[in-house]
Each structure stands twice: as C-alpha cells, then as structure tokens.
C-alpha cells in the first residue's frame, strides 16, 4: 500500500493521502508555486503505513520561464525528519506534472512491486535513489542509461538481503594470453564463499547529511579469486598469484545486466580463499569497485584528505569510458594495506577535467586514510566520494582546482596556498620579479640572518626544525658552492622538460662559453629520490646554475620551481604501545619486540623499553649525501631512565639517480625515468607497503626466522624462573640491514612488531590456583584461595603435634581464607 502525503518543508503533512488525490493536489500546488503563491513544498511517498518515518520524498522548486518551467527534485536528507532518499530530475513543461510524476512512480514500481503504478516509457534524464522496503538501504541509483548498484547494495547482496546476483570477473594478466576468471555471486553461494559473511560485511552509515557520501564497509571479499572449474563451496586452497587485475561487477536486476569495472594499477597479489584459520596480521588485499554520486562540496570537504593531485595523464575516450561512466565516477583502483586494528587505505580516482579534441585530461586524486578499527573487530574500508559528474564542456573557472584564485598576493599565507598554475597566473599578470618568492637563487642572501624568519636566506631557521632532539646542537652547512633544491613530482618533470626546451644559447653557454669551460653536466652534482616528504624552507624559486648565476633553468611561464630543502630534515613518528597481558608475559623472554626501520632493517629491542611511554622513532635525514640516522627514543616519564635512545641505526635513504653522461639526452632520460619511477611508486606506494606488511616480507621474514627461538624461549622460560628473564632482558640483536633502491621498494613506514605468547588459563584460575604473590601478609587480611610457605603455627598451644602438622600442611597446600 502506498501512502502519499504532501509535506511542507518542515515535514508537516499538509495534504494527507486520500486515495489517489495526492498527484492532483501536488499538481495544484506546483501550479501555485509557479504562480508565486507558495514557496516550496515537499512531496513524500510514505512507503508503508507501518513505517511512517521511511519515505521517499523530494522538494520542489521552480525555475525557468512560464511554459518551459523546469522543476528540480532535490535531496532533503539534511532534514532529520526525513532520513530518506530522493528523486532528482527535470520536469519539463508546466502542464506535464501529472504525467512526469506518474513516470517516476512507474519506475519505482518497476523495481518495487509494492508500488502499484503504471509503467510508462521514460525518456527524460533523471536519477532515482531507491531504497528497500526498510527505507534504510540504498538499493540502487537508476537513471535513463541504466541502474548503478552502489557498494551498499553489494553488501546487502552479500548478506543475502536481495535476490540480485553479481558476476565478478578477474582478468588474470599472469596467464598468456590473459584470461578472464569469473564467478557469479548469489545469496545462495555467497555464504559458502564468504564464510560467515555477516562477520565481514556490514555497512555503517555515518550520521551525516550526505548519506551516500560516507560509507564504511568491512572487509567485503577476501581472496575472491576462484579458478574456473571449481565449485565455489569447496573453498579451494590455491597459492596466491600476481596479476594486474580488474574487477568487473555485473548486476542482474529484472533480467537486465549492468557491468562495472575496477582495475589495479600494477600487478597485485591475488589471494585465494582457504579454509586455513585466519591468524591475523595480514588481511588480504582485494579490489573493489566504488562509485558514488559526486557533489562539488565533497572535494572541498575532503580536500585535506587528498594527498596528491595533478594532471595525471591523458586518455582517449575509449580508455576513459572504461574507467568512468557518463554519470558517476568510478574509483578505478585502490590499494590497501594494514593490520588487524589499523588499516591504511589509499584510493586513486580519475576525474576528467578537460577535453581537447579526442583527448581527456584527467585529474588523479589520491586519497589516503588511516583507520583505527580498534572499536570495530575486523577491518573495513572507508571510502569518500571524490567523483563528479562528467561533462565535456567543463569550464576551468568552475572547477575545484580553479585556474584563478583571488587574494592578496602580498599575504605570505595566501601566496603559499596558490597552486602552481594559479601562481603562474599571478606571474603572467601583476607579478614582478621583486614579488618572486623564495631565497635569492644561487647563493642565498649574504646579509640574511640564518635564524630569522624572513625566509630570505637559504639557511633553514633553527626554530623551524622542531626540537625533538635539539637539532640546534648541530651546525649549518653554508650555501654558495653547492646548492640544493627540492622538487615534487611535477617539478622534476618540468625540470626535465625545461632542459629539453632550453634555447640553444643556454646549452652553448654551459658547454662552450662558460668561464670554466666545463661540461654542463658538471654543474649538477647529484639527483636523489626520497620516499618521504622533504621539509623545505623558503618560497619556491627558479634554479640558477653556472658562474655568477647567469643561467637559470626557467623563466616566466616555465613553471619550474623548487624549494630549498633543509640540510637535515627531521621526521618524528610517535607510537603508543600498551602491554597486552599486563603481566610478565609482556616482557622478555616471553614477548619479543622488533623495530622495522626502512632502509635499515628489522632490529630486535627489549620490549620493556616500549611500554607506557610515548615512543618516538626519529629520522635525521642528511640531504647532502642522502644518508640518514634512525633513532628510537623512549620519552615517557614512567621509568626513571626516560628520554633515552634505545636504538640508533644509520641508513641510506636517498636513491641515487645517475646524472653522469655524455650528453643531455642521458641526463634528461635519467630524470624522466626517475620521474616515471616516482609516479609508479607514488601510485603503488601503498600497495607495496601493503605487500610488505601483509605478506610479512619485511617484518615477517626476520621475525619468522626468530619465531622458533621466541617460542622456544617462552617454553623454556616457563620451566625456569625470574633468572631466565633477567638473563635475556638486555639482549638486543641485529637482524640485518637493507638500503638502496631495493629498500625503497619495501615498506617505507617504520613499525614495531611484538611477538607475544598466547596464554590459556581457565576462568577460575585465581579461585583454584591463585595468582603468584610472594608477599608477607597477615592471615586475617586475606580472602579467597591462599597458599603459604613455611607456616609457623607454634602459637597454637592447645593443638597436638599431629594437629599442628595437619594445620601447617593445609595452609601450605591451599585453603580459603
């Protein structure tokens, strides 16, 4: 039964359902709206009279000239009284209200038989956000081009709440030729595949005004690769394989099939589902498709979450359409890594920006988030909307990344907020050379105070270094001979391009007429890539090379900017580690602790240093030679010896990119190759980290090598006493090191791993066995089970010797005080 009520904007029913008159009443009010007699109304369909709070409703506003009015149905989910979906679309023609409304109801009827509306042909453009009979679950977004099934629906499918089915297809690129491997998920076989799917699938809607904008999904699929020919319910135990996968989801609804795709950016490890017990520590990576409707404000809301953006690439329309639809953005790749109670997820989304002839310029948005799931047993993904409706006539001024930005250019904060292309626009117009930010290129400001904040000197201000380890105890390296500039990815590309585009006189001057007659390559000492964000000082500025700073790699419009990096850059990583058992098992030799330091290795430390403190891992990075020093510092105040270094290791972080060569081609090629490598690293950094962590390659290897030792030590320790623990307490061993490019491909995030024993004691352990105490107490102060040692009962004068012996035996063997 449909209950159609007409609501005012405050949710008050202004026209209750009287049996089919609602459309007429709505039409009348629309007419009044067009006549400026009323401001706005909402139209609501109460789906069931038993669920009065769940309804589909919409607002109605009027726009346009008389006779060609366009009525827009808007989302009113902001209204707490209407936690429901909405219908958006255009109603063309002032005299077509009734028909259009019927059409929309008809489409709802197509999906939901409980709506008894006549089906009519629909030719207009519209979107329906359709909810199930509970009103809580979004089932799909329907429009004239088909129906898009959001991941929530997929989750509901997985939980067997719908009768729809999905076909998921992997493209196995490891096979030659590549083959598609697929299987169909239905509520019947899904349970076999998922195994306790309710444990892994649960949608959590955040209380937000954009219900579709915030979604969390627990681990949806673990290793959902099923080789062809296998029954889904046999849970085949196959080895993982590497493949550059793509996921095709096919939704079959009302005998209509809809396909969607997701791709991995690089070869990824696909894990099979196994019957082996899950031991924790490595959630298998998986690929999923996420697509959401997009609102412009979403980008602004989550701008601080976007860690990288830029014109990522150019795609043909065919390529692009394999990534995105005409209506919604598909996040075409994702990498996830993490551990059981902390998940870091990264997303890369391609948003079309401009279209030049047949080429689309795409904006690549990478979103990374770290999720503490302590309160959520099991991991989940967190996705945010980063999409937008695609349009070929995008005007840059309307974009989030606007070409222009207004503001006071003399304001340093505003100047710093400008994007490169926005900065360029300032240059092209009212910018003078005096306004050029940053230090004087080449040698810095001789008169500048290295400790001041005017950012006109090249030397970093000491107070900018932070004070975790009092870096002012070091010394400054003066500029003048060699200079250092820090580039981001785009900058290094521009740098390479600039070398190629430099006019001939530039090269002539460098190679022939400069006063030292040196090969121009001699001006460049080194180029290193770092996995970390390089702290830099000063504003961005052009690079000047050669004697007298005569030649500089850029002029107005070349967009070649770089910042002065600090000679020594500090990174401080804070850890909070609590005891697990809160007893002796948290310490050596029962528990072992390993600190993984990227580019250095995995090192064992005594776990006693880690607890109840703000543990800091500090990296001192020397950009002059690419070396670094890791320090693990206990800074807590609980112990008397707080604030000391418990581990210090040197490392080589900067990856050398060769600059030597005979001509400019070699150098440019190196730089370009490095840039490409960085792009790949950037895109897959999370994935590589994920692989490292989840597979345990970096952590698990050395840990695994010592697991036997750990287990043995634990068991041995149980057979011995405190002496055993003391004997092992000061033990710190070296497990190995690593450096260079290979290390850069490993996990670049330090971590601390504790290997603990698993204790199993009965619940009544205190009552039947008692905790170890070893204290002197008065018997009358005790309650509960007690055992004593060498009890003196000589004061019981009346008792016989037999009784005293019996009493002593009872007190020593155990009694209940």
């Amino acid at each position: 039964m449909i209950v159609n009520n007409l609501y005012e904007t405050n949710g008050r029913v202004v026209h209750p359902d009287t049996g089919g008159t609602i459309v007429d009443e709505f039409t009348r009010r629309v007419y009044e709206l067009g006549q400026d007699k009323v401001d706005s109304y909402y139209l609501g369909w109460i789906k069931k009279d038993t669920l009065p709070s769940n309804c589909l409703c919409s607002s109605l506003t009027v726009d346009g000239e008389e006779g060609t009015r366009t009525f827009t149905w808007e989302n009113i989910t902001d209204d707490a009284n209407f936690p429901c979906g909405y219908i958006s679309g255009d109603i063309e023609g002032a005299n077509q209200h009734n028909t259009t409304i019927s059409r929309r109801l008809a489409y709802i009827n197509q999906l939901y038989p409980e709506y008894s509306c006549e089906m009519e042909d629909i030719s207009t453009t519209w979107n329906f956000y359709l909810y199930d009979s509970t009103g809580e679950h979004l089932l799909g977004i329907a429009n004239s081009s088909g129906i898009t099934i959001p991941i929530k629906t997929f989750a509901r499918l997985c939980m067997g709440y719908t009768d729809a089915s999905f076909t998921i297809t992997f493209r196995d690129e490891s096979s030659s030729p590549a083959v598609n491997r697929h299987f169909t998920l239905t509520p019947d076989n899904l349970g076999n595949l998922m195994n306790d799917s309710d444990d892994y699938l649960e949608w959590i809607d955040e209380d937000d005004d954009q219900q579709t904008a915030h979604c969390k999904l627990r681990v949806a699929l673990r290793g959902f690769y099923v080789p062809p020919g296998r029954r889904y319910d046999t849970r085949p135990q196959y080895e993982p394989f590497n493949a550059q996968w793509f996921v095709k989801t096919t939704c079959t609804l009302n005998s209509v099939q809809y396909d969607h795709y997701a791709y991995s950016q690089s070869p990824d490890t696909i894990y099979p589902y196994t019957t082996e017990p899950y031991t924790g520590g490595d959630y298998n990576r998986y690929g999923r498709i996420f697509e959401f409707p997009f609102q412009e404000r979403d980008l602004h809301n989550f701008a601080d979450k976007i860690i990288q953006f830029g014109i990522h690439g150019e795609f043909t329309e065919t390529q692009l359409l394999s990534f995105i639809s005409s209506q919604n953005l598909y996040i075409v790749s994702n990498n996830i890594f993490g551990f059981k109670d902390n998940i870091s997820a990264a997303w890369a989304a391609f948003v079309p920006l401009y279209k030049f002839t047949d080429i689309f310029k795409c904006l690549c948005l990478q979103y990374r988030t770290d999720i503490d799931i302590t309160n959520y047993p099991g991991s989940y993904l967190q996705g945010y909307i980063l999409g937008r409706t695609y349009a070929t006539d995008v005007t840059p001024e309307d974009e989030f990344l606007a070409k222009w930005k207004t503001g006071d250019i003399t304001d340093p904060a505003f100047k710093k907020s400008l994007r490169p292309w926005q900065y360029e626009n300032f240059q092209e117009n009212d910018f003078t050379e005096e306004d050029m930010p940053g230090p004087t290129p080449g040698g810095g400001d001789p008169g500048g105070d290295p400790d001041d904040d005017d950012e006109k000197d090249n030397a970093p201000d000491k107070q900018d270094w932070g004070d975790p380890m009092n870096p002012s105890n070091g010394f400054d390296i003066p500029y003048g001979f060699a200079n250092y500039k820090a580039f981001n990815n785009a900058g290094i590309v521009n740098f390479a391009e600039r070398l190629w585009d430099a006019p001939d006189d530039f090269w002539d001057a460098l190679t022939i007429t400069n006063k030292n007659n040196a090969n121009w390559l001699d001006y460049f000492i080194s180029l290193r890539a770092y996995p970390y964000w390089i702290n830099s000082t000063g504003e961005e500025a052009n690079i000047y090379v050669g004697a007298g700073g005569k030649f500089y790699l850029g002029d107005e419009g070349t967009n070649l900017y770089a910042s002065n990096p600090q000679h020594i850059t500090f990174f401080v990583l804070n850890f909070s580690i609590d005891k697990y058992y809160n007893n002796f098992l948290d310490f050596a030799p029962y528990t072992k602790a390993y600190v993984y330091l990227p580019f250095s290795g995995t090192w064992e430390v005594n776990p006693k240093y880690l607890y109840h403190t703000t543990l800091q891992i500090l990296l001192k990075l020397d950009i002059t030679d690419g070396s670094g020093v890791w320090q693990v510092i206990r800074s807590g105040a609980e112990s008397a010896g707080s604030g000391y270094i418990i581990l210090e290791k040197q490392c080589k972080i900067g990856v050398e990119i060769p600059l030597s060569g005979l001509n400019a081609t070699t150098m440019s090629s190196n730089i370009v190759n490095a840039t490409l490598g960085t792009y790949q690293r950037t895109g897959n950094e999370m994935g590589k980290i994920a692989g490292t962590i989840t597979s345990g390659a970096a952590l698990g290897g050395p840990i695994g090598a010592t697991l036997g030792m750990a287990a043995g030590a634990v068991m041995t320790g149980l057979e011995n006493s405190v002496d055993m623990a003391n004997a092992n307490r000061e033990h710190i061993s070296v497990n190995g090191g690593m450096s260079g490019l290979a290390a850069a491909n490993c996990n670049v995030i330090p971590s601390i791993t504790l290997v603990r024993p698993i204790a199993q004691n009965p619940d009544n352990f205190p009552h039947t066995i008692g905790h170890l105490v070893n204290k002197t107490e008065t018997l009358s102060s005790l309650t509960g089970f007690t055992t004593c040692r060498n009890v003196d009962v000589s004061n019981v004068g009346q008792a016989t010797e037999k009784e005293k012996a019996q009493l002593k035996k009872i007190l020593e063997n155990g009694f209940y005080a």
């Binding site: 005569k550 990583l573 290997v755 105490v773 018997l779 009890v791 009872i810």
Partner: protein, 164 residues
C-alpha cells in the same frame, strides 16, 4: 562421661577457614566411645531425625574442637554413632589468623610481573604490529605539494637578472 555439642550442616569446602554454619541442633549429651581418639573420635548420641542431615559438629569442653562428621550409623535403641575427623583449620583459625605468613599464591592479591610457572601458553604465538600515529604517517609521506627529489648543483650567487 558425656559432653555437650552442636551439630550443623555445613556446605563449605573443608579447606575454608571460617565455615558458614546454619542454625545448629544442640545436643545435651554425647558420649564418646571407649579409647576415643581426640583427632578422630566416635560419639554416640540419642536419635533425632534432624541429625541425619548434619555433617559438622562442634564439641564443647573438654574437646573444644570442631569435627567433620565422616560417618554416621543408626544403632539399636534409638542411638546414633557418628565418626568424626578434626577440622584443625576451623578449630584453630581464631588463634592463627593474626599470624603473618609468606603468601605464595592468593586469589585476590597479585604480583603480575613475577613469572608464574602455573601459566599455560600455546606453542603458537601472536604478533601485532604497531604503526605510527596516522598524522605522523601523513607528515612522513609526500603531500600533494611534497618534495621527493633533491638536486644538488653548482651555482654561485646570482649577480644579474634572469635570462638564458
């Protein structure tokens, strides 16, 4: 020779120092058997149906002890013969409860960081990896405008304006 005593039903663990004794059944006169062992005596008393549920007896002077009833026989002539075993803990608790003792194990006290050989652990293990605080990772990894490359080059202070 007869003594007075009180019979009880006691449901406490025999190792409990202070027994929870419900209302007892006083006996005016109990007679020990001949050659009575004070630690494991046997008494004869007149039959009472309520005695059948008793398992604990407190015998007044000169015994001044509490006993567990270990056996009970109904004899001819409406007599009951009960065999007892002394409850030294219950008898002498008030005298020793002020004693200080070296407590080895206790139900409600705990020194958790003493290695306890009574703990049982699996031969398996569990590992947990801690990552830095998320904000620290964000600071560590490159942001959108982050710098990942450093070039070192030779260039003296600029003495003139730009130009190639």
């Amino acid at each position: 020779m007869s003594f007075s005593a009180t019979l009880y039903n006691c449901s406490d663990d025999p190792r409990k120092a202070v027994k929870s004794l419900a209302s007892g059944s006083p006996v005016a006169s109990i007679v020990p058997t001949e050659a009575c062992d004070i630690l494991n005596p046997t008494f004869i008393l007149n039959y009472n149906s309520s005695y059948a549920t008793c398992n604990y007896i407190v015998v007044d002077a000169p015994f001044n002890r509490s006993y567990f009833i270990t056996d009970m026989k109904i004899d001819i002539g409406k007599k009951i013969e009960i065999s007892c075993a002394v409850d030294v803990l219950g008898t002498y608790w008030n005298q020793i409860k002020g004693n200080t003792v070296n407590v080895v194990r206790q139900e409600n006290l705990r020194e958790p960081y003493l290695p306890d050989d009574q703990y049982k652990i699996y031969t398996d293990f569990q590992n947990k990896t801690y990552l830095p605080n998320p904000t620290d990772i964000e600071n560590l990894l490159a942001e959108d405008t982050g710098k990942n490359f450093i070039i070192s080059y030779v260039g003296a202070p600029r003495t003139s304006g730009g130009g190639n």
